[in-house]
């Protein structure tokens, strides 16, 4: 059997993704190595961190399919990072191990279903019977308090640095799920609690903690649970690994977790 090239893996991704490939994307492109790199194994991951690449190599994988950027800025603009010592060390390490990186972000979110949401709902235990309409990411759950809900989700995900805004005693039932930096608006009257990854604290549009603070003062039950960017989107990279495995039988495919980056003070 002839060797599997990274370009062939990408061709199969494009053939199987189920939507027309948008060549204008700056995100879903090769970030290191290229189509000719011979693939020994494939690891999906949230962030291609040095640590995650190292563990992928240990597991016999040299192709990484991350959801996020490789060089600490969304466009992977090397002019921002190329003078930094960490950039040089990372590149040297990737060269040494014949690494190839192809990002899957825009097309992953455009896929039906979006594996990022599927994976997060699975990890949180949000069963589809609770989803208001398919792929609405809106769930009507048995009533609980914000405090209990946050504690349950934290335990399920092992999410040390989860952050919550709102009255812990406020009654919650209707949850709007967001992921990454796509945090739904909290002012929706059909939503008690927004759960997402990361969001700017202000200067957005009804998607930040200020509204929840004022709702609490007025006595309107609202909650905001932020899991962190990595934790919120990493779960779905398992579904992405299983999907890639279905059309690359020649090589092993697995999820390598980059993991939560934070610790928190007592």
């Amino acid at each position: 059997m002839s060797a599997l090239a990274a370009g062939e893996v990408v061709a199969r991704i494009k053939a199987n993704v189920g939507i027309p490939w948008r060549d204008t994307t700056y995100r879903d492109t090769f970030k290191f190595g290229g189509p000719d790199t011979v693939v020994k194994g494939i690891a999906t991951t949230m962030f291609c961190s040095y640590d995650a690449i190292g563990r992928a190599v240990e597991a016999g994988c040299n192709m990484l399919v991350p959801h996020e950027d490789t060089y600490w800025n969304d466009r992977d603009d090397l002019s921002i990072v190329s003078g930094d010592p960490s950039y040089k060390l990372k590149v040297d390490f990737m060269k040494e191990h014949d690494i190839v990186i192809f990002r899957m972000h825009d097309h992953m979110h455009a896929q039906k279903p979006d594996f990022i949401y599927v994976g997060l709902a699975r990890a949180l235990g949000l069963e589809s019977k609770y989803e208001t309409a398919p792929q609405s990411h809106h769930f009507t759950l048995p009533e609980t308090t914000l405090g209990e809900m946050a504690a349950t989700f934290q335990k399920r995900l092992g999410d040390k640095a989860l952050r919550v805004v709102g009255d812990p005693k406020a009654k919650m039932s209707r949850l709007q799920l967001g992921v990454g930096y796509a945090t739904p608006s909290i002012d929706n009257p059909d939503v008690d609690v927004v759960l997402s990854g990361e969001q700017q604290e202000s200067d957005g549009s009804f998607d930040s903690p200020a509204y929840v603070l004022d709702a609490m003062t007025v006595g309107i039950p609202k909650g905001w649970i932020m899991l962190g960017h990595n934790v919120s989107e990493e779960q779905g990279m398992l579904e992405m690994a299983q999907w890639i495995k279905s059309f690359t039988p020649e090589v092993p495919v697995q999820l390598v977790r980059s993991g939560e980056p934070f610790w928190v003070p007592k």
């Binding site: 961190s49 600490w72 969304d74 989860l162 812990p168 002012d187 903690p209 709702a215």
Partner: protein, 314 residues
Amino acid sequence: MRQISRRKFVALTAAGVATAPRGLMARSVGGTVTAQEIVDRIKKNIGVEWKPETVDTFKAGDPSTIVTGIVTTSLASLDVLGRAVKAGANLIISCEPTFFARADTRILPARRGPGTGAAAPSGAPETPLPADPVFMAKDAFIKKHNLVVLRFSDHWRLRTPDPFVQGLGNAFGWSRFADARNPKVYSIPETSLDALVSLVKKSLNARGGMRVVGDPQLRIRKVALLPGSTPIQASIELLPGVDAIIAGEVREWESVEYVRETVALGGKKSLTLVGRIVSEEPGMQVCAQWLKTFVPEVTSTWISAGDPYWRPTL
């Protein structure tokens, strides 16, 4: 519309005096001053050119309102507005938006969300949104108490030295450790990251908003302060020269991953995030002090918006 009669003003201030704690009471030193006059004095004293495009504008209330007292804050939450009223103040100067969005208007903007994300077909009339109870309650409170809200963010952070950095440094007790060459950097007596994080938490009354990247045992001598919200460029510029960055808010796919990787690659570095609003609190405390220097007619007081976050313990 918001202008009030002289008699009503006297009645209002009398009511304010009855409820205001001592020391925070509005006082009169040589006449009255309006909110607009205070803004004019801010522009004269700020020391940087006033930008034509800026978020630093009135967000609510009539600029010709006679000011009974000034409150500065990082976030003009309803809770902060309530405490300002109790203190007898009616001009609130906020670093962050009042109406939950960068647009920061009293007119409710269109909502994003399930089924509403798609833009309306061109030419179709916009569907008016139902009244938002939180928005309405805040607007009604502002009207009822004749408050004036001014955002002050763009220009305040352009001053030299940056009052947000200076305020944070003061809050940590580091005013004499500031680096003369780089005003964002402090050379402090050696400590561990763990001890530094405890100091930060205590100094800022942080609750659940703090998150840290780096080895707790790491030795720290040089610290860079990045209050507010900062892009990757700021971290890349500062991290090589320091042991620790203490920041308000960064993008997690930028600076958090950059520091995490630098640590994994052997760099003796750390990043401590305190949250944007919390990181801007001491800078707004400095603002209240600064206002006193050219607004002698009324008191200027800082009110803490507090850490919005809490977290359950695993």
